[in-house]
Symmetry: C2
Subunit: 332 residues, 2 copies
Amino acid sequence: MRIFIAGFGTVGQGLAEVLDSREIFFKKRYGDNVKIVGVMDSKTYVTDPEGLAPMDLVSRKAETKRVGSRTYTDALEVLDSVDYDILVEVSPTNYETGGQGLKNIVHALECGKDVITTNKGPLAIKFGDLIALARRNRCKLKFEGSVGGAMPIINLCHDNLVGEKIQSIRGILNGTCNYILSKMDSGQPFEQALKEAQQLGYAEADPTGDVGGYDSACKVVILANSVFGRNVTFSDVSITGITGITEEAIALAKSRNMVVRLIGEVTDTKLEVAPRLVPRGHPLAVTGTLNAAQILSDLAGPITITGRGAGRLETASAILSDLISVLDDREE
Amino acid sequence: MRIFIAGFGTVGQGLAEVLDSREIFFKKRYGDNVKIVGVMDSKTYVTDPEGLAPMDLVSRKAETKRVGSRTYTDALEVLDSVDYDILVEVSPTNYETGGQGLKNIVHALECGKDVITTNKGPLAIKFGDLIALARRNRCKLKFEGSVGGAMPIINLCHDNLVGEKIQSIRGILNGTCNYILSKMDSGQPFEQALKEAQQLGYAEADPTGDVGGYDSACKVVILANSVFGRNVTFSDVSITGITGITEEAIALAKSRNMVVRLIGEVTDTKLEVAPRLVPRGHPLAVTGTLNAAQILSDLAGPITITGRGAGRLETASAILSDLISVLDDREE
């Protein structure tokens, strides 16, 4: 149960912290078997078959901006340089080509390794191929952290609701948009709410990926493929962002005891991101940077799950849950 | 994988319908191995080692008010009269002694059977003993449906959040109270809202168990014992119901953009049911008969799950999820 971490930015470092904080838990559950044997960031790497101390990695990155002392040009050669069982792929995402993350995932699966990733680009672009590759090589491919951060929607659908016929998922899949819309609820105009979100670090300098609905669309694709067994990609999603929402529209909604939320919706036939009216008091009418998703199934009816959509430890917690699931399966 | 169903009221019948509707799912996943070999209601029973057709049981109960043609006086003798692997115990609950349900569960566990139940009384009264008995006999004891109906809170904590340190659970655990409080949000006085809830069948003629907070308290006990590993019972809960909530209190909350909700709270040291102020837009500020629970853990932060707290198919869906989990474990 040797882990290789590809990518050592916020999420990779968060994971190292989490693994450190769970040392006793892992020892109790799996003995001395769980260790990090390799880590790389965009330029450097470090490996040790005996195991690397997670907090040493975090300190070195903080002090030197590099996780390893050795530099590399070919990431796949680095992966091949040490024996590992599980790749945690958390390198920067690329929505257009899948980038290095896609190459890392493919390579690991081809070598028969289990893969856990939060990397949305590769999943949104090549989901079908990756799942098929994983099946062919009898590997696990887990990606809870790619949708909704700490909100455990994928494993909830796969584990707890496995006997249900899931008819639709409708969700708030982007915390930045929800923050902006929540501010607009209380009368702020869009531009001002966006500026505030940028100042607080919720929105990037170029906010298009969030407010244009593209980030939500990626997550809609991942849900459609993983929960509904569809075979769709980013370009199949009908996308409307929140830039066109006026103060008047918000005020009108309010007068009817409703709020406006950016909702991603998936069914067997639908694939859409668009602003929608949601009644106050509805489980999807949450405020702030939260993510929320309502799963409608034939027996249970609507089940809604809400949680933090992003954050260092929050995303790492989703990886932890995937990791435990993979390790439990390997133990059996 | 032979199932015995003890109790054939709303939930038992709902389960029979669900098992019928999932025939293909079960065949695909487990072959021809899953069958109902026995059912009893309060007076009659029927057994067949070859398997009973679920919808025949439902029809017979509807037509004759009895599920079986044979009557019995000793339920445990009925259980002993046929070989089974899993007892689904859904007989009427008794909060004071645990009633026949408790006896059935104990007997099945003593005989080495797995048990799935939605029966709150036995769990609230004898949780520690039952868990110990199950462990001793290497049996499963699953009870997802006992808290929050279709809302999968227990399995979420046990499965998806197994690596987290859960610090608190705060939840709306009684749909009847939430319906009444939601109506009071829009200006109705308590008595009128209660009357409406009774007319709609949400509240019983004697509503004390719901509005007094006792039903919520039972669920708080189950969560404390099962998620926090505590060893508490009903009498350990500090309980305040909703009967004392005035229209003035609701109006004051509203003026501060808050709603009043009956919240059950569990931590390592706390065990309480009481009305609380919840900000509008908070994941717990849901309206109607919904149940909701917010799990606060050290890594994921707050995760909230919302779903229907009661209902024939909804509660059966919780049993289905427990059943699949037990069957999957037996397959391995």
